[in-house]
Amino acid sequence: MSDLRPTLSPGQQAWRRFRKNRPAVVSSVYLAVLTLGILIWPLLLILVGGTFGQDHAPDQLSDAQFAPPSLHHWFGTDLHGRDVFSRVLYGAQISLFVGLVGTLVSLVIGVLWGAIAGYAGGRVDSVLMRVVDILYSLPTIIFIIVLITTLGELLKQSHFVTNSPFMGAALRVMLLFVGLGAISWLTMARIVRGQVLSLRTRAFVEASRTLGAGPVWILSKHIIPNIFGVVITYLALTMPAIVLYESFLSYLGLGVQPPMASWGTLIAEGVGQINPIRIYWWLIIFPGGVMVATLMALNFIGDGLRDAWDIKAR
């Protein structure tokens, strides 16, 4: 049957469907605003300067301990009189950065691993997939805990870190990337392999092969573009998981260390303030609320992408 409308590429079709999905669109706007806030707020503080900039610097101590939300401190202040709004945005930086890099790590490893396994097939495939099976049976979160407590402190003691405090903090974050990325690529690898396996035998790939195309050409020109939808969808669903993991580790005191802050550490501080005598509700509601909203936004976008690309649940 011939269609007279101009044909749309799969990407364009998906984009059309995605735009019709209201929660996903709202979520995208929210994320864009949040990202903008993260980027602009520090600049704003420097530009405005003066007492406003001073009072709202995320690490600035002040005598206004536990001030409730007001026009001056929108989200109130914490134990040290630090502005919670600034700290939430500051924590967002770290949390989203860890989420993003962790996701990218999982993307690179997962796609390469899965594509190679699926394309090569045979013995290579079974070996690679067996490794994935093995890693699946590792108690991941436990291994991360052991890895971070032991390796983190070990490296911290080494000379090159003690001489530079910045390296110490960066190291912790780096360990988080590696650890979180390392546990998240497994599912990606499985999905990509499945896709590649089915694409490999399709006519247009066979055709390309008979025309003498090498595996690198086929992978990069035919296969990778065709699994783009699956990958992007899965990425959108991986990122909230990693952000959640990071907050979980930070809550245990194993994530980023003070003076750095992430949503996890902020929430942990807020949770510590819940007691029967009085509740500094703003310390838990605001960091928790922003984090939950972000996670939901990411999930909605993921769902939206999945519907848009029409990917069947496994």
């Binding site: 108690p139 890895l147 407590t149 032991t150 070990l154 949770v271």
Partner: protein, 304 residues
């Protein structure tokens, strides 16, 4: 045959895990007997290390550990010196399993009806609210929901105890806190499953036959839609059993999760290695069960 092979394969895997954990904890700075007060004589420290064979080279310690392991002995905790790891597991695992099991029931008990309900009302406001709630449950971390539950149900209204593990009442809040995330997941899976089942051809056929909408939902669609949930149940159970330590910590529940986190902070070498192994075994076992269930579920799936 396939399963036998996988079981055999688990042995080298466990060896690798134990070696890795064994080396990692020992590489970390600080030892189990570094305390705030240094003993009056360095000899004491030396005797102490010798007593637990920590003065030997690491490979020798590891071989010794494997030897003990072959006899089913996980060794003695270096911090709780009266307790063997076997004791700790025997005391803590049933508690952790009870908690995990209850949370499992909670997740299914809440998630299935919610998913069913939202799907049955597709597109209307109950669906929007229900789906949103399910999404919320998936996005709120357990360590946030637990203190909030304590605050509301225990501290404000005095309905339930704030912590400890003594009576059925004590189990309600931890079960909810642990199971909420999974309830959300189940609800989402169930809703998806219902929606695709309702569109499937055999339900259309049944509808054309003139069956009532309710009968259709309950008798036909439900039974297909529940299948993805069943296949999710395995990994979920594994997650519940191995991931409960934050909840155990917040509610002061004497399970084993707490030991692992504290063990690695205290450099309690034997606890860390022993519990890592235990968790790995649990996970391997559950994965096997899941895969086995898959083959029953879907005759097209065959492992060889």
């Amino acid at each position: 045959m396939y399963y036998l092979r996988r079981l055999l394969f688990a042995i080298p895997l466990l060896l690798v895990i134990s070696a890795l954990a064994f080396a990692l904890v020992r590489l970390a700075p600080g030892g189990p007997f570094d305390n705030e007060r240094v003993p009056a004589s360095p000899e004491i420290q030396r005797h102490l290390l010798a007593k637990y064979h920590l003065d030997e080279p690491m490979w020798k310690q590891y071989l010794r550990y494997l030897g003990d392991l072959a006899h089913g002995d996980f060794g003695v905790s270096l911090k709780y010196r009266d307790h063997s790891i076997n004791d700790i597991i025997a005391e803590g695992l049933p508690v952790s399993m009870t908690l995990g099991g209850l949370a499992f029931c909670f997740a299914l008990g809440v998630g299935l009806p919610l998913g069913f309900f939202t799907a049955a009302n597709r597109g209307r406001w109950p669906d929007r609210v229900g789906s949103w709630l399910a999404m919320l449950a998936v996005c709120v971390p357990g360590f946030v929901i637990a203190p909030v539950l304590i605050m509301v149900f225990a501290v404000k209204w005095h309905w339930l105890p704030v912590a400890l593990w003594e009576s059925p009442l004590h189990m309600i809040l931890p079960t909810m806190a642990l199971g909420l995330y999974f309830a959300g997941q189940v609800a989402r899976l169930m809703r998806e499953g219902m929606l695709s089942a309702m569109q499937s051809e055999f339900v259309t056929a049944a509808r054309s036959k003139g069956l009532g909408e309710n009968e259709l939902l309950f008798k036909h669609a439900f039974r297909i839609a529940v299948l993805p949930v069943v296949s999710y149940a395995g990994p979920m159970l594994a997650d519940l059993l191995t991931g409960s330590f934050i909840i155990e910590n917040i509610f002061q529940i004497p399970g084993i999760g707490v030991f692992l986190v504290n063990g690695s902070l205290n450099r309690d070498y034997t606890v860390v290695v022993g519990l890592s192994l235990l968790y790995a075994m649990l996970l391997i076992g559950l994965n096997l069960v899941v895969d086995f269930a898959y083959t029953l579920l879907d005759p097209r799936v065959k492992y060889e």
